[in-house]
């Protein structure tokens, strides 16, 4: 077994109103970042787990996202990084 460090990104699904992202975008516009088009505020979760190899580590991270970390109705997730810890 190897210990892996896995990062997952969870973001509000496109098309669903994201008032937090909009509020942050408004603030950035106020600061003068006029080229900014959109902001989406989500969660960044770091998992450390033991697995036989990298693909099974990623597989169990996906299962965690599907069953608890992300809400399948309103959020999307992406496993952004898997590395030996």
């Amino acid at each position: 077994m190897t210990r892996y460090r896995i990062a997952v990104h969870i973001t509000p699904r496109r098309g669903i109103l994201d008032p937090q992202g909009k509020a942050v975008a408004d603030a950035l516009h106020t600061l003068g970042f006029t080229a900014l088009r959109e902001v989406h505020v989500g969660r960044y979760i770091v998992l450390e787990l033991d697995a036989a190899d990298q693909s099974s580590a990623e597989q169990s991270a996906r299962e965690m996202c599907e069953r608890l970390l992300a809400n399948p109705v309103t959020e999307d997730f992406e496993v952004a990084m898997v590395e030996a810890a």
Partner: protein
């Protein structure tokens, strides 16, 4: 009749629900601890308001996996009546007892006020003592009440008469929808396919006596009492 009221760490409307049942309705109530697998032979389960598990991750996401919820889910799947209020509604959605999800209020503000609700159907276990179209005054108090589901699900809820309550705009003489939290089509409460699980953001248990500012919530409890045989 006995109501079982679940207490999660962070529940804060469990005593209000208890008082509504015992003092308002004159029936029995028992608290059900989140770590137990014991529904204490309750005839109706109430998932009360509050901030179970600190709303960590998402409101209701952790509570859904607590031991007692496995029994509540089995109870609901057998057709047992479940009244899920506010945080209870969020938990019921996370648990898959009800479709959709409750997201952060569109205003990003916690809303706490007495609102007007319209009874969209009196043909449910929970609303048979109201007239269809009746207007109720019931308080809301939540930060995550924006009911969201895909269009197809919402259309289906409407088509099957499962949208039970809708928010109305402030002045008493208007019949317009108004969503204090940005919820889709101003939906305030829905029932599951079997009609035995009601989820609603407003707090009927806080409106059971004129001293509380409204007693319009009492008939909801009376509806359950009228329909559920013990």
């Amino acid at each position: 009749m006995k109501f079982g009221i679940v207490t999660f760490p962070g529940s804060n409307c469990d005593y209000d629900a208890y008082r509504a049942v015992v003092d308002g309705l004159g029936e029995q109530a028992a608290f059900l601890w989140h770590k137990d697998h014991d529904l204490k032979q309750s005839d109706v389960i109430i998932l009360p308001g509050g901030f179970s598990y600190g709303d960590y991750l998402r409101a209701g996401a952790i509570a859904r996996f607590s031991p007692v919820m496995q029994d509540v889910i089995a109870f609901a799947n057998r057709g047992g009546p479940v009244l899920a209020i506010c945080n209870g509604f969020q938990i019921a959605c996370e648990a898959g007892l009800l479709p959709g999800a409750l997201l952060r209020n569109a205003s990003l503000k916690f809303v706490c006020e007495l609102v007007r609700l319209r009874v969209e159907t009196s043909d449910t276990l929970f609303t048979n003592r109201y007239d269809k179209g009746a207007t109720l005054r019931i308080p809301i108090a939540h930060g995550d009440g924006r009911y969201t589901a895909d269009e197809e699900t919402i259309d289906r809820l409407e088509g099957e008469g499962r949208v039970v309550f809708r928010y109305l705009a402030g002045p008493a003489d208007t019949d317009e929808w108004w969503s204090p939290n940005g919820s889709t089509r101003a939906i305030a409460g829905i029932v599951n396919e079997g009609g035995n699980v009601l989820g609603m953001m407003p707090h009927p248990e806080r409106a059971v006596d004129p001293l509380l500012g409204s007693s319009d919530g009492l008939a909801l409890f009376e509806s359950v009492l009228a329909r559920v045989s013990v």
